[in-house]
Symmetry: D3
Subunit: 241 residues, 6 copies
Amino acid sequence: MSLEKKQLRNIKIEMNYLDNPDGSVLIQMGKTKVICTAMIEDRVPFFLNNQGRGWITAEYSMLPGSTDRRKARDITRGKIDGRSQEIQRLIGRSLRTAVDMSKLGERTIWVDCDVIQADGGTRTAAITGGFMAMVIAINKLFEENKIKTNPILNFIAAVSVGISEDGAILDMCYEEDHKAIVDMNLVMTEEKQFIEIQGTGEERSFTREELDKILDLAEIGIEELIQIQKSELKDLKIFKQ
Amino acid sequence: MSLEKKQLRNIKIEMNYLDNPDGSVLIQMGKTKVICTAMIEDRVPFFLNNQGRGWITAEYSMLPGSTDRRKARDITRGKIDGRSQEIQRLIGRSLRTAVDMSKLGERTIWVDCDVIQADGGTRTAAITGGFMAMVIAINKLFEENKIKTNPILNFIAAVSVGISEDGAILDMCYEEDHKAIVDMNLVMTEEKQFIEIQGTGEERSFTREELDKILDLAEIGIEELIQIQKSELKDLKIFKQ
Amino acid sequence: MSLEKKQLRNIKIEMNYLDNPDGSVLIQMGKTKVICTAMIEDRVPFFLNNQGRGWITAEYSMLPGSTDRRKARDITRGKIDGRSQEIQRLIGRSLRTAVDMSKLGERTIWVDCDVIQADGGTRTAAITGGFMAMVIAINKLFEENKIKTNPILNFIAAVSVGISEDGAILDMCYEEDHKAIVDMNLVMTEEKQFIEIQGTGEERSFTREELDKILDLAEIGIEELIQIQKSELKDLKIFKQ
Amino acid sequence: MSLEKKQLRNIKIEMNYLDNPDGSVLIQMGKTKVICTAMIEDRVPFFLNNQGRGWITAEYSMLPGSTDRRKARDITRGKIDGRSQEIQRLIGRSLRTAVDMSKLGERTIWVDCDVIQADGGTRTAAITGGFMAMVIAINKLFEENKIKTNPILNFIAAVSVGISEDGAILDMCYEEDHKAIVDMNLVMTEEKQFIEIQGTGEERSFTREELDKILDLAEIGIEELIQIQKSELKDLKIFKQ
Amino acid sequence: MSLEKKQLRNIKIEMNYLDNPDGSVLIQMGKTKVICTAMIEDRVPFFLNNQGRGWITAEYSMLPGSTDRRKARDITRGKIDGRSQEIQRLIGRSLRTAVDMSKLGERTIWVDCDVIQADGGTRTAAITGGFMAMVIAINKLFEENKIKTNPILNFIAAVSVGISEDGAILDMCYEEDHKAIVDMNLVMTEEKQFIEIQGTGEERSFTREELDKILDLAEIGIEELIQIQKSELKDLKIFKQ
Amino acid sequence: MSLEKKQLRNIKIEMNYLDNPDGSVLIQMGKTKVICTAMIEDRVPFFLNNQGRGWITAEYSMLPGSTDRRKARDITRGKIDGRSQEIQRLIGRSLRTAVDMSKLGERTIWVDCDVIQADGGTRTAAITGGFMAMVIAINKLFEENKIKTNPILNFIAAVSVGISEDGAILDMCYEEDHKAIVDMNLVMTEEKQFIEIQGTGEERSFTREELDKILDLAEIGIEELIQIQKSELKDLKIFKQ
């Protein structure tokens, strides 16, 4: 495990990519491209009625043409893909930790992450980009005077790290992921604290030492991602109070 | 009905928009944006087994963030949207008329049209762009020597025409469509012949004279669309035999 | 295209065919037989609540034994047949144009069209017969003093016209439909105005001249159908104010 | 329990009611009307492959307009009605006892029972009529020389008997059924032997003496029903060997 | 039919088997084991709103590992097993006859019967055990002063009886059931009156004499079952008023 | 974070709990009870055909009566619970790492984990118990001479660790889990290596130091669990070669 890849792939953010959602970005990490949108609905799920709090929910999907071999639509298969469901639960959980719901009012923010081109790391790109779309939508609420204070608790981003026969790899592309022995996704805050850790020994179990190496690389990646987020979002009114 | 709008909206085609499909375009008509992909599968549906012919099938969907008010995913609602199903049947039927299936071999071409931004005319943009993605995929078969002759019978494109209180309108945007009294979608060939005519008197029934006016405008639009298609696709090897 | 078939097939209407619905007819066009029923429910869909207007909705289905080769039930296949869904949307849309919803009160009229024997033209028979069942149900509302004025705006009927190698054909049976090059369904008013035009070039595209020929035949068919409807319905109290 | 109603309601059989199925009848018992069709498919379910035996399966459904209050379609509700499923399992089981499957060849007979008007006793009418449709279809196999011997083991019919406050009632209509304390459906052979007994104490439990009274009435009803079946079917070639 | 098996299999009841439900038993009849739970919900189905009455509903399922060959879960197959649905309707119907709903208040009792080991007679064990779980839950309502009087009208139990080539058999195990010519399930009260009779001639029809023999055996079985129920439940406060 | 709970809850294993599966255990951790069964099928999923390798798949479900508030069945809700699906993917992935598939032959082992009583840690109990059921089933293959060598690569077990306001807690019960700030599930081998790490900051993000504390406790728990597994399974023939 001497070799390491400590670099994120090329990142490109297209802010306000679509006109209709309250917030949207197209995030590219290498060849992976995800459209992230955030839309605000003026009501909350049943279980939150009359509590004066908001809610954030996420959905994740891949276009049929996003992969090399066509991915059948969920509706054609008659049920949601298990992997997609797991990912959208992860995205929703992560985004909810970043916002003070009591400052949102009785509103739901729907964050949709639709992968249009997949080359590894789609779930982490979805979280990093979904957070940005959500912030833009929240800023819109603020600009329209619908909320009075900034409900965003901290910036979050996500990154994958793997271990292959050659060493640890930050931000794997599909081919690297495919060959990885260990595959880990981390959602972290700007203070390098953990929100989610999901690691799988795909080919073999891994040691605590290897885990430490993974966490070191993740910190490097998260730092760079949050820098990019901050640079793109810095002019939003909500950050200038 | 003195006023007429005889102009298509601004059209922009991004060829080979995605890496993984065999053919892809991003088509924009005004603010409407549709990702069209074509993917080839080396088998045919059950009912065509062992007949030496190919098949073309289409799917159509709108991203949740494509519209002003979030559009719930089919899989969440548990069934395919009736409108979407109708549209994808229309797309498939139209594309199949443009290809000689006996020259495709036992292959299926899957054409996926995913609307990422909707501002009226999504189904007609899907047909016009889906045809282009399909042609690119067929050209790839030809370049790879998997087919020997050009199976494309003619170019096709589609356009909407409406009648409002002010007059007839070519290529309506959402707001115009919303106000239209009559709404018609036409799929036509480069020889100005009809493949599909679908017209609805949304607010009132319409006369044969009004129908004639609509058909005149459709011819204008189709001519321009097919010119654009030809200009974009002219360098494909399949057209240079 | 020298030959033409300008005659509708034999038509037979059995009024009040069933006891339970508010209106019902059994319509036969040639060998095609469709049971059309109309049932009134004293509430409207969610999106129309508290607007003082009514709604009309239609469903269409074919019995398993209606066709030569047994047609599996939708519930067995787990999803509604795409063709059926398209047809029932057409029926509902057409019937709604014929009624002034503001005079119905907050009521829904459910029109069900169940094909018990299919020999071509089931969708057009469903519209022609469904209109009659609906009128009978509306007359019942009137007789029961639940509505004060006649909400029916005009009579409507539907007919199919095709073009085969031998010429144009009015009201095709299954075998004729199967051989048709062009297949068109038209829903029209008693003034010969169009409500819906749906035409498909099944085998080849068609010219504007051929379209004109089709429209001429459709006018002949619609005239005869509406005469029959009027003759059957003339004694209803709602038409005698 | 002094009073008894020992009479079946008026029965009317319309033989060969539809053109497309291999066998069909419209059976009316009082106001209850059921279209019964039988269609032959030249293969058997998976679990019977290569055993040289046939299979019989039944489906039962009610049209939306068959009842006083509109019955939503199964496909709209997204699942098959529990009552319908139970009834179709009963019909299939009953019909299978009446046929020697080893003489059918590897064929499936699909028996469809669609209630177009419901006034009590729809399941028993479906069995009595479904048996007849099935026999007509089997006779067709025989006439076409596809089977050599008569596979029908015995005639079967079904009838309902109830107990109300006034006494026992043979062949209840909907209103009688609604008031019944005990409701029993019996499927029996021409020798008065039982194939199925399904009895429910809807309002209270019932005694063995009451059960005996019910069985006496059932025998009367079954005898009359099988007489009618035999009279209608007597000219079929399969019974004239 | 000289031989008879007049003995129930070994019965074992584990009262209050689980901590969370309001009532629960594990019932074993021979090798058949069913977990029966009863849970109270403080509302009633829509159709009973504001009538001051309660409701009882039952669900039945088999664990994948309960049978010799793994039983796929309903959710995997996408629809509820027809047999399970029929059984749970039977359980619910039976339990409702045993309780005066007007004394329950606007509450629903959910009775769940989950078979963990199947060796014949699972539905009858579910009814016998489900009744006990329900009584424990009702007693809890009484102890908590939520109901003032005992709503239980009578004890009920269920048993299967079959006829094989060797004679009649009470309480068949799977192997006996498999070989049975006639298979009957009976739900009866402590007064030996019938609530449900469901009998099927699986291999051949059966005579009235055979039916009488079956009913004699059922009475023996029901008597023993209700004795066991009473002995287990005798200390509940609701029976000591 | 001064206080720690370093003790697993009471563990009880009932080996060969059910008769029909190839392997089964009832595992109890505190009040949590999970029935784990393993059943062998002599074929593999489509994607593994003709590769000479086996497959292991898992399903997880909770009985309606397992929780305090009744849990609706998946089939009633019409879709599999997102949480259940995520858990069963985790179980399957974990078990597959413990077995050399190439030594299984073309067989699938179905591991079903059905929670009958839930008090926290159901997924980890399911993995620990599911592994044991699987080993018993594999031993049966070995005893029946269907496999020649031991395919088990290592023992695995799973445990949850949480962080509450008072400190770190090993093997949380429901109430502790409910109050936890951080919730982590770990699947590990007998060598203390990781197979899966899934951690969520439910209430707040967590530091790398807290993660280390969690991993320390997990090692303690895993060691004890694998000791128990080994003690229960030590007499299996497969471990005595």
